[in-house]
């Protein structure tokens, strides 16, 4: 997806449903997401990328939420939100370069695949520790309000993250300071091997918002328009000064937790099969076909377009040079300290042909 070209058009402020061409845009983004996901899993199996955390089953939640916020809004993601970045206009090439950790990676190969950072898209650098982004999203929202900018921040996290310290701190601060933040929880039923019902005994995750004095809503995460509407409503509340909202999007993780995981150790195939019957991509496809916003040929063309773009991006990534070894010394601080400069020189000597002492 080129930086701006294929970015779905911005929602009209009052719009609370995706229809017509915008719904097809959403579908296109979901088709790309699914195709990219499948491709990444096989890239990892082939040893071409080092790791991957799939999002299949969560496409409607990702795309619906991403379309519902504005370009000025800030996103504080976890590690399954590459699609959110793409919808916001991050280039497919930049995403793929991150997965490869090559010289095209905007983050200079510093992080494992899936941990994206896209400044231009206000897509804040993801990290692995679960939940840490949550209070950060609250702080950014407070900062925006201080600057009198009518934006919101949206933060993504999973069912497991509701147990984190940061969830508690973040939601409590948001409640107390009425921060314009949207807490978007993708409850995909699993935190690696722990099922949702053993993560916490509350009846829903959404109801946890009450403990912080603001509303929580449950939404069918397989329904792109339900997600869209819920996030639009939360955003409207936030910019109106009415404070935060917790949204629990109920989805299901179809694949393994990550390429390091074997889900057969902890869950029955039957559960997965059952969840796949609610596949959000298939569901939207059926809706579009029924509404005649799409036909089989157009659908096939979309799939083909996705495959082609992905293939091209991977081809370019594999042709992109590796990162410059001494780049590991950059960005520790704005300016390197004397000590880092010295270590860099020392490292350079080691890397020189023949090594330092010979």
């Amino acid at each position: 997806m080129a930086a701006t070209a294929s970015r779905p058009s911005a929602p009209a402020p009052s719009e609370d449903r995706l229809g017509g061409a915008r719904l097809v845009d959403a579908y296109r983004a979901m088709v790309l997401a699914r195709a990219l996901d499948e491709r990444c899993l096989s890239l990892q199996r082939q040893g071409r990328i080092g790791f991957y955390a799939p999002h299949a089953g969560q496409e409607a939640a990702l795309v619906g939420s991403a379309l519902a916020v504005a370009a000025e809004d800030w996103v504080f993601p976890a590690y399954r939100e590459m699609t959110v970045a793409l919808v916001r206009g991050a280039s497919l090439q930049a995403v793929v370069d991150q997965l490869f950790g090559d010289a095209g990676d905007l983050a200079k190969g510093r992080q494992m695949p899936n941990h994206f950072a896209f400044r231009d898209q206000h897509f804040v650098s993801a990290s692995s520790p679960i939940g840490t982004q949550i209070p950060q999203a609250v702080g950014a929202a407070m900062a925006a309000r201080y600057r009198k900018q009518a934006i919101t921040t949206i933060t993504y996290f999973g069912d497991g993250a509701t147990s984190s310290n940061d969830f508690h701190a973040g939601l409590n601060f948001a409640g107390v300071f009425r921060a314009p933040t949207i807490f978007f929880c993708q409850n995909n039923e699993w935190a690696i091997s722990l099922p949702r019902e053993r993560q916490t005994r509350s009846s829903t995750l959404a109801m946890k918002a009450e403990a912080y004095g603001f509303p929580g809503v449950v939404v069918d995460g397989n329904d792109v328009n339900a997600v869209y509407a819920a996030v639009r409503a939360a955003r409207a509340r936030a910019v109106a000064g009415d404070g935060p909202t917790l949204i629990e999007a109920q989805v299901y993780r179809f694949g393994p937790h990550s390429t390091s995981d074997d889900p057969r150790r902890y869950r029955a195939d039957a559960q997965v099969e059952e969840a796949r019957r609610r596949d959000p991509v298939a569901r939207l496809r059926a809706e579009l076909l029924a509404a005649q916003l799409l036909d089989e040929a157009a659908d096939a063309a979309l799939a083909e377009e996705a495959r082609t773009r992905i293939g091209e991006a991977i081809g370019r990534a594999e042709a992109t040079p590796a990162l410059e070894p001494l780049s590991i010394f950059d960005d520790v601080f704005a300016q390197p300290t004397a000590r880092l400069a010295e270590q860099r020189t020392d490292c350079a000597a080691h890397l020189a042909p023949g090594g330092r002492s010979s």
Partner: protein, 325 residues
């Protein structure tokens, strides 16, 4: 020049930075209405209002986590942690997030937060109102760590910290918050990071210290002078970045080194100074490098004076070092 206590100098530094730049925001527990439990933020709420001086809920995770978000958005938050002993609920946000944000994003997301915390013993605070765990933060790549020991440095380093582009842990020696008074330059006084301060010149031995240990070492140096030992006292004041040049130059002259801190010995900052010297000043060294530090026990209450390095222990270590070679 104005005569101020150390805590007044912190207060002044905050006030001036907030006057100079509307992006500077102060947040923490009891920093607003109460003016801070040590009064470091006294008067700020009144002058700058509740939008800029935020009394937060009791959550260091929330304080530092939200400060990071503010910094990412472009503000310059100064977060107060009530005692360094209570920073650990924020440790994940500091170590995993604040210290690594710029790096992990390839420079896309600089994240400038100043975290202020009173630290150290000598106030009968027991285990949880006395700790000096600066080494945790010095070991964390991506953080700068500074510790003033005079009012002038308190203001000067704080102004530098707030103007810096990187995250800074600003440690305040609470034991000398009010006992140390000094002239503080008016206006935009800044003390650069990475530059140590020679408290007194000497020729027999170099004694390195920071924070509340500086007056202790200075007192020891005076006593030593009386018995004919000339100790050079260096206030490191900036631990990361460290002024290695000054450290090495001093030992190059004296040939002997004693490092003093309140923190426990094992893996304390004194170990780092000793290791740098053992590598880079080896040929100048005439005697073993001594460390005068807190013991490797938790910080006690009733017997804190047994635990804390006092002038006597510094004097003894210096004497031994000078006699050794």
């Amino acid at each position: 020049m104005t005569e101020l206590t150390l805590v007044q100098a912190v207060n002044r530094g905050l006030q001036e930075a907030m006057r100079a730049d509307p992006d500077v925001i102060v947040l923490g527990e009891d920093v607003g209405v109460n003016g801070g439990v040590f009064r470091a933020t006294e008067g700020l709420l009144k002058e700058f209002g509740a939008d800029r001086v935020l009394d937060t809920p009791l959550s260091e995770t929330g304080i530092v986590g939200s400060a990071i978000g503010m910094a990412l958005y472009g503000l310059k938050p100064v977060a107060e942690i009530q005692f360094l002993d209570f920073i650990y609920p924020a440790f994940d946000q500091i170590v995993s997030e604040l210290a690594k944000m710029r790096y992990r994003s390839g420079g896309q997301f600089p994240c400038h937060v100043v975290v202020r915390a009173p630290y150290g013993g000598g106030i009968k605070g027991g285990l949880y109102h006395s700790q000096s765990t600066e080494a945790y933060f010095c070991h964390t790549a991506g953080l700068k760590v500074v510790v003033p020991s005079t009012p002038a440095d308190a203001k000067g380093l704080l102004r530098t910290a707030i103007a810096d582009e990187d995250p800074v842990l600003f440690l305040e020696p609470k034991r000398i918050y009010r006992s140390v008074t000094g002239e503080v330059p008016d206006g935009d006084h800044r003390v650069p990071f990475g530059s140590a301060r020679t408290v007194r010149a000497g020729s027999d031995v170099s004694v390195f210290a920071y924070g509340a240990m500086v007056p202790v070492v200075t007192e020891a140096a005076a006593a030593l002078e009386a018995e004919g030992i000339s100790a050079e006292v260096i206030d490191l004041r900036s631990l990361v970045p460290l002024d290695e040049e000054a450290v090495l130059a001093s030992v190059g002259r004296t040939g002997r080194a004693v490092v003093v801190h309140e923190a426990a010995r094992c893996c304390g900052f004194g170990a780092e100074v000793a290791a740098v010297l053992a590598e880079k000043a080896f040929y100048s060294l005439k005697a073993p490098i001594a460390r005068v530090t807190g013991y490797d026990t938790p910080f006690p209450y009733a017997l804190e004076n047994v635990y804390l390095p006092g002038p006597d222990r510094v004097v003894a270590a210096v004497r031994d070092t000078v006699r050794a070679g």
